[in-house]
C-alpha cells in the first residue's frame, strides 16, 4: 500500500512532540444509573496503533463510539487532533471528518452496489464529482482486494469481502484516524485472516488506528500500545511487548492466560 | 344536541352493524380455513378453484359484490338450486347480501393469512408428531392449528377491524345499520355533524375494544412461547 501522504509529513519531524491525535481526559459515561465508563484517560499519538481489549461489557466499544459521538459522554473531554468534541453539530461534523469507522456488522448500504457504497459519501459529504468519486473508490477497493466485486450488491459477497468493502468505504474519505469496533468478531475463521491482513497493511501506512478486538495475535504483531479495560475502567496500559510478556496487574494476567 | 330518540336508534343500528360484521367474519373464517387447508400444498388441485376465486374477490370492491348479491342474489340462488334440481323462490335480504359479500371477499384474504401461518409452523412440529404416532386429524387439531392461531392472530385481529369498517360501506345497499340511522337522524334534525360524530365514536370504540381483547387473546394463545420484547405498542391504535 502506498504511504498515506498526510502522514509522511507529520511523522518526519524529529524532535517535536506532535499534538496527540486523540486526547481523552476524565471521561465518564452513564446509561441511566449504570456507570459504563469510569474516569478514562487516554492519549493516542499521531501514527500510533492502539488496541483496546478486555472482557465483554468492559466498555471498550462504548469508549470508541464516544470518540466519534455515536454515544454522548456524560463528563470529561475528548479532543481529536486539537478539536474539542462537543454536542454542537459543527464540532461533531469536524471531528467525524477526521475519523473513519469500521463496524462489527459492516453496515454496508444493502440496496447499493459495492462501488456506490464507496462513492455515496464522497459525492454527498465531500461534494466530489461522480468521476472523481469513482476513481477514488476504485483505488481503495483495489487496495483491499475486492475490486472485482465492484458491481455486486453486499448480499452477494462473503462476510470477509463485505468487511473489506466497509474498510475501503471508510478509507475513501482519507481520514487521519481509523476506529475499528470488533471488525472480525462477526466473521468466520477464514475471512478473519483476510481482513486482518488488510488492517496490517493499513497499519504500515502511518495512519493512526484504534482497534477494539479479541484478536490477540494481531495485537501482538501490529499494535504499538495495548490497553486493557474491565468494568468501564482502564486497568493497564503498556507497550505491546510488555503488555503480553510482562503484564503488571493480576487481572490482565488472568485475561491473557484465558485468551492466549 | 342529539335527541335521545335518535341516539337510541343509532344504538339499534350499531347492534345491527355488529351482527353483520360477526356473521360476515365467521363466514370469512370458514371460507378462509377451508381454502387454506385445501391449498397448503403449492401444487394442489384446489388451486383450480382457489386462484380465480381469490383473483376475483380481492380485485373487486366489496360494495360492488354486495350490490350484485342484493340485486341479483335471488336469481343466482335460483339458478344454483336449479342445478341441484330444487325449485326455490328466495328473496335475498340486505343482511344476507351484506354477509355473503363481505364473507366471500374477506374469506380470500383470510385464506392467504391462515395458509401463511401454517407454512410458518416449523416443519419439525409435523415430523415430531408423526414420529410419536399421533393420527393425522389429531396432529392438525391439537398440534398444528393452535400454533397457527398464535401466528395468525395479529393478522386476524386487523382483518376483524377491516370487516367492521367495511360493514359501514356496505350499508349503502340499504342495510339498516348505524350509518343508515345516522343519515336518517341528520335528515330530520338538520344536525348531521353530531350523529356522524357519534357513529365515528362507535367505530373507534369498537376498534379500541378489539385491540384490548386481542391483546389478551394473544397472551392466551402465546402460552409457552417466548415473547420478543416489543418496545412501545406494536400497533398504533
Amino acid at each position: 500500500m502506498n504511504a498515506n501522504p498526510t502522514f509522511a509529513a507529520a511523522s518526519a519531524q524529529p524532535g517535536t512532540t506532535a499534538p496527540a491525535a486523540i486526547s481523552i481526559t476524565g471521561l465518564n459515561k452513564h446509561y441511566g444509573a449504570f456507570h459504563v465508563l469510569r474516569d478514562i484517560n487516554l492519549q493516542v499519538a499521531s501514527g500510533e496503533i492502539v488496541v483496546l481489549c478486555g472482557p465483554s461489557g468492559s466498555g471498550k466499544s462504548t469508549l470508541i463510539r464516544c470518540i466519534n459521538h455515536l454515544e454522548q459522554h456524560t463528563s470529561g473531554q475528548i479532543h481529536v487532533n486539537g478539536t474539542l468534541l462537543t454536542s454542537r453539530a459543527e464540532d461533531v461534523a469536524s471531528v467525524r471528518r477526521q475519523l473513519g469507522m469500521v463496524f462489527q456488522s459492516f453496515n454496508l448500504f444493502p440496496h447499493m452496489t459495492v462501488l456506490d457504497n464507496c462513492t455515496f459519501a464522497l459525492r454527498l459529504a465531500l461534494k466530489m464529482s461522480a468521476k472523481e468519486a469513482e476513481c477514488t473508490a476504485r483505488e481503495y477497493l483495489e487496495k483491499v482486494r475486492v475490486i472485482e466485486q465492484a458491481a455486486k450488491f453486499p448480499t452477494q459477497l462473503s462476510g470477509g469481502q463485505q468487511q473489506r468493502v466497509a474498510i475501503a468505504r471508510a478509507l475513501c474519505l482519507q481520514p487521519r484516524i481509523m476506529l475499528f469496533d470488533e471488525p472480525t468478531s462477526a466473521l468466520d475463521p477464514e475471512s478473519v485472516g483476510s481482513v486482518l491482513r488488510i488492517m496490517e497493511d493499513l497499519a504500515q501506512t502511518g495512519i493512526t488506528m484504534i482497534c477494539v478486538t479479541h484478536e490477540m495475535g494481531f495485537a501482538r504483531r501490529v499494535a504499538d500500545r495495548c490497553v486493557f479495560m474491565e468494568g468501564g475502567q482502564i486497568i493497564e496500559e503498556a507497550l505491546a511487548e510488555t503488555f503480553f510478556t510482562a503484564p503488571a496487574s493480576d487481572r490482565l494476567k488472568n485475561f491473557i492466560d484465558q485468551v492466549l | 344536541m342529539p335527541l335521545a330518540g335518535f341516539v337510541q336508534q343509532l344504538g339499534i343500528g350499531a347492534l345491527m352493524t355488529i351482527q353483520v360484521a360477526v356473521c360476515a367474519y365467521l363466514l370469512a373464517l370458514a371460507i378462509g380455513t377451508m381454502f387454506a387447508l385445501a391449498t397448503v400444498r403449492p401444487r394442489s388441485l384446489a388451486n383450480i378453484v382457489w386462484l380465480p376465486y381469490a383473483s376475483i374477490f380481492t380485485g373487486v370492491p366489496s360494495l360492488l359484490v354486495a350490490f350484485l348479491f342484493y340485486y341479483g342474489g335471488s336469481e343466482i340462488v335460483i339458478s344454483l338450486m336449479a342445478i341441484v334440481g330444487i325449485k326455490a323462490k328466495v328473496e335475498v335480504t340486505p343482511f344476507a347480501a351484506a354477509v355473503a359479500a363481505i364473507g366471500m371477499v374477506y374469506g380470500a384474504y383470510l385464506a392467504d393469512l391462515i395458509r401463511s401461518a401454517i407454512h410458518n409452523v416449523p416443519r419439525g412440529q409435523f415430523e415430531a408428531a408423526r414420529v410419536l404416532l399421533i393420527p393425522a386429524p389429531m396432529i392438525w387439531l391439537r398440534v398444528i392449528m393452535p400454533q397457527v392461531l398464535r401466528l395468525a392472530l395479529p393478522g386476524m385481529t386487523n382483518m376483524w377491524i377491516v370487516v367492521l369498517k367495511d360493514t359501514a360501506l356496505v350499508s349503502l345497499i340499504g342495510l339498516k345499520e348505524i350509518m343508515a340511522y345516522a343519515k336518517l337522524a341528520s335528515g330530520v334534525t338538520k344536525e348531521p355533524f353530531i350523529y356522524y360524530l357519534l357513529a365515528s365514536a362507535f367505530f373507534l370504540g369498537m376498534t379500541w375494544l378489539t385491540y384490548f381483547v386481542a391483546g389478551n387473546l394473544e397472551t392466551w394463545a402465546g402460552q409457552g412461547s417466548r415473547r420478543a420484547k416489543i418496545r412501545g405498542k406494536a400497533h398504533a391504535l
Binding site: P110 | T58, G59, S171, F193, Y196, F203, L237
Partner: protein, 229 residues
C-alpha cells in the same frame, strides 16, 4: 345469471365516465395521503410523549371508516356557519374536495404506519455508518432512509394501493358518480342488474391486476439487491 353483450357494450361510455371519476378521486388522494403521512410517520418515531399527536392521528384515521369521514366532511361540516358563510364554502360544497380530503386522511393514517414500519426496519447500523461518513441528518433522511424505507414498504404499499382503489366506491354516497355508482345507474334504466355490475367488476379487476403487475415490476427493479429464497 346472464350477461348481455349488447347492454354491456352500450353502457360502456357511462361506465368509463364513472371510471374517469374514480381516477379523478384516486390520484390526488394518493398524492395528498403520502404528503400527510410522512410528517405523521416521523412524529410516530419520536420518543416518549412527543409521539402522542401522531399516534392519535393514526388511531383516529385508521379506526373510522372512510364513509363516515366523507359524510362528516360533506354533510356535517356545512352545518357550521364558519364553513357555510365564508370562502371555505367554495371548497366544502364541492364533493370532489370533500372526497379528496376524507379519503386522503384515511389513506394517510395507513401510509403513516407503513412508512413508520419501513423506517423502523432499517438496520440502525447503516444509519450510524452514514453518520460516521459525514453525511448530514438531512442527507441521511432523504438520500438514505426514505429510499431504503420505500424498498421495505413496497409490498405493504401495494396492498394499501389496492385497498384505496376499492375504497373509492364510498364516494357514491356523496354524489360523485364513480364506477360503482355508474353501474348502478345503468341498472336503473335497463333493469338488468348483472350486466352492468359484472362489467364494472371486470373493469375493476383489470385495474387491480395492472397495479399488481406494476408493483411486481417495481419490486424486481428496486429490490434486486435482495437474495431470494
Amino acid at each position: 345469471m346472464h350477461f348481455d353483450m349488447q347492454v354491456a357494450w352500450d353502457s360502456l361510455p357511462k361506465l368509463l365516465a364513472g371510471l374517469g371519476n374514480t381516477f379523478t378521486v384516486l390520484v390526488p388522494v394518493l398524492i395528498l395521503g403520502l404528503l400527510f403521512a410522512i410528517p405523521v410517520a416521523l412524529g410516530r418515531l419520536k420518543p416518549g410523549a412527543r409521539s402522542l399527536p401522531a399516534t392519535i392521528y393514526v388511531s383516529v384515521f385508521r379506526g373510522v371508516p372512510s364513509l363516515v369521514l366523507l359524510y362528516l366532511i360533506y354533510s356535517g361540516l356545512p352545518q357550521f356557519p364558519i364553513v357555510r358563510d365564508t370562502f371555505l364554502w367554495t371548497f366544502f360544497s364541492n364533493p370532489y374536495f370533500c372526497a379528496w380530503l376524507g379519503l386522503a386522511l384515511t389513506h394517510s393514517g395507513f401510509m403513516a404506519e407503513i412508512i413508520r414500519g419501513a423506517l423502523a426496519a432499517i438496520p440502525p447500523g447503516t444509519i450510524e455508518a452514514a453518520q460516521t461518513l459525514g453525511l448530514t441528518p438531512r442527507q441521511i433522511l432523504f438520500r438514505l432512509r426514505l429510499p431504503m424505507a420505500a424498498r421495505y414498504a413496497l409490498k405493504a404499499y401495494q396492498n394499501e394501493l389496492l385497498i384505496m382503489v376499492k375504497s373509492t366506491s364510498a364516494v357514491s354516497a356523496i354524489t360523485i358518480i364513480d364506477l360503482t355508482a355508474a353501474a348502478n345507474t345503468v341498472f336503473d334504466y335497463t333493469y338488468d342488474p348483472f350486466t352492468p355490475l359484472l362489467t364494472a367488476a371486470a373493469i375493476y379487476w383489470c385495474i387491480t391486476n395492472a397495479i399488481r403487475l406494476g408493483c411486481s415490476a417495481a419490486d424486481r427493479k428496486f429490490n434486486r439487491h435482495l437474495v431470494r429464497q
